[in-house]
C-alpha cells in the first residue's frame, strides 16, 4: 500500500467512525440545530493568502485561524494539540512571524499572508529546516513537528533580527544561535516524545553552528 492510500483509508475509517457515533448517540433532531439558530450564527467574509494562494471564504466569526486552515483551506499539516496556546503544535507564520493559530480568529487576519508547513517546502523540494529535521531524526510520532519546524524557522530569523531572549546575559547586545538560546526560544513548542535534543541538532545545522 502506498503512503497516500494508507492516509486516505485511515481518514475514511475515522470519518465513518465519527458518523457512527453521532447516529447512535444523538436523536435525529439534536444532530441538526434548528434552522433559526443556524441562521443567527454570524459569518464574515475572510480573504487569506495562504502559501502564496489568495482565496476568500465566508466563515463563522468563531472560526480560529487554525480551524480555518485545517477545515476550510484543507491544509491539515498544521496540527491541533491543546487548542489553548500551550503546546505550539498549531504554530504558523503570519506575515513572517510565528504565532499560535489556535488563539486567533480568522476574521482578525483578513488580508494577511499565512505560511504553513505545506508552504515552507514540498516533498521533492524541502525547506532546509525540514531536511535537517529528517536528517537528525527531530521527531518520533511527528504530531508536533509542523509546529516545531515553523517555530524553528522563525526562531533563527528572530535571532538574526536581534529579538532579545530571557537567557541573554546582555539584553542590549545581539544574540547568537547557541543551543541555550534556541532551547529557550523553542519553549513554546512541546514534544511529548522528547525529541528536543535532535531538534536542537537540526536547528544548529541550519544555523551553521555546532549544537
Amino acid at each position: 500500500m502506498s503512503q497516500n492510500e494508507f492516509q486516505l483509508s485511515r481518514r475514511g475509517v475515522i470519518a465513518a467512525g465519527t458518523v457512527g457515533v453521532a447516529a447512535t448517540a444523538l436523536p435525529a433532531e439534536a444532530a441538526t440545530p434548528p434552522l433559526q439558530d443556524r441562521a443567527m450564527t454570524p459569518t464574515m467574509p475572510v480573504t487569506l493568502k495562504v502559501n502564496g494562494r489568495t482565496s476568500r471564504l465566508d466563515l463563522d466569526t468563531r472560526t480560529t485561524l487554525l480551524d480555518a486552515l485545517r477545515e476550510h483551506w484543507k491544509l491539515t499539516g498544521t496540527k491541533k494539540g491543546c487548542d489553548h496556546g500551550q503546546c505550539g503544535a498549531c504554530t504558523v507564520l503570519v506575515d513572517g512571524r510565528r504565532i499560535n493559530s489556535c488563539l486567533t480568529l480568522a476574521v482578525m487576519h483578513d488580508g494577511d499572508e499565512i505560511t504553513t508547513i505545506e508552504g515552507l517546502g514540498k516533498p521533492d523540494d524541502l525547506h532546509p529546516m525540514q531536511a535537517a529535521f529528517i536528517k537528525h531524526d527531530g521527531y518520533q510520532c511527528g504530531y508536533c513537528t509542523p509546529g516545531q519546524i515553523c517555530s524553528a524557522v522563525a526562531v533563527l530569523d528572530e535571532i538574526k533580527r536581534g529579538v532579545p531572549s530571557h537567557v541573554q546575559a546582555d539584553i542590549t547586545a545581539g544574540a547568537s544561535p547557541t543551543a541555550v538560546e534556541m532551547r529557550e526560544r523553542m519553549s513554546g513548542n512541546i514534544c511529548r516524545c522528547g525529541a528536543y535534543s535532535n531538534i536542537i541538532d537540526a536547528m544548529s545545522e541550519v544555523a551553521g553552528t555546532k549544537a
Binding site: G88, R98, I99, M108, H166, G188
Partner: protein, 318 residues
Amino acid sequence: MKAFTYERAESPAAAAAAVAARPGAKFIAGGTNLLDLMKLQIEEPVHLVDVNRLALDKIEPTPDGGLRIGALVRNTDLAADERVRRDYGVLTRAIVAGASGQLRNKATTAGNLLQRTRCPYFYDTNQPCNKRKPGSGCAAIGGYSRQLGIIGTSDACIATYPGDMAVAMRVLDATVETVQPSGSTRHIPIADFHRVWGDTPHIDTNLQPGELITAVTLPKPVGGTHIYHKVRDRASYAYALVSVAAILQRDGSGHVAIGGIAPKPWRVEAAEAALPQGAKAVATRLLAGARPRPDNAFKVPLVERTLAAVIAQAKDAA
C-alpha cells in the same frame, strides 16, 4: 465558544463607543487570553470590537524625555525596542521572562495589562469562583493554593495577577492612557490601574465600561541597574511563583515590585527606604499584613530570598 458578532473599529473613540453601546461587548487585540477564556465559556462576549487595525502600534519619545508605547505594540516589539533595552531594561527582561515566542508576537501592551488570573479554580467551570461567577464562593480558599496570593487577597478571592510586564511597569512608574466612550481621555497611574478587589473580585481593573487603553507612557529614565528575577517551576514558559522587578542605584536606594503574590503588582514605596538595610528589612515591610495559606506560606521567605538575590546581583553589576 458562544456565537458573537464582530466589527473592526475605525478609531479608538469609535471602538470605545461601540463597546459601551452593547452590553456584553468586548475589545479584542492579540486575543491570546480572551480566546482561551472564550473557548472555556469563562468569557462569553456577544460582540467583539477588533482594535488591531487602529494606529496604536508606535513607540515614540515624549516631550519630557520618556517613552509613549502604543496599546497595540506587540510584546516582542516592545522588548526588542533599542530604547527600552537601553533605558528601561527591567521591562525587556520582564517581557522575555513571560509566555512563549509565539504568544509574545501576538500579545499587545494593553492586552497584557488586562490578562486575567490563572487561578486553577477560575479556569475550572465546575468549581465555585467569585471572580468568574460573583457570589458563587471561592473554591481556592480551602483548596490547593500553592500558586495563589498571600497579600491583598480577601475572603472572596485569593487569586493573583499573573503577568510579568506590569510588574516592571509598576517599578517604572508607568501611566496608562485611555479613551472613554465620550471621546475624553484619562491618565491612570499604573499603581491605580489594577484593583485590590476585596469583595468584588470579578472587577480586575479601574477601567470604566467601554474605556479603551490607547498607550502606556514611561517617565524619563532613572538609570540604575535593572533586574527582573522570576522564580518558577520550569526554567521557561511558566507563571511566576514569585518575581521581583527592581531598579537599584549605586548608593543602595531603588525601587522594587513583586509579582505572583497579590491581585496586582505589589509595591510598597515606604518599604524601599529599607533597601540599604537589606532584603529582610524590605520584605518585612512589603509583606506586612500578609495572609499566607499552608500551601503558599513558602512565598513569604521566597520573596525575601529573591530580593536578596536581586540586591546581590545589583552589587555585582555596579
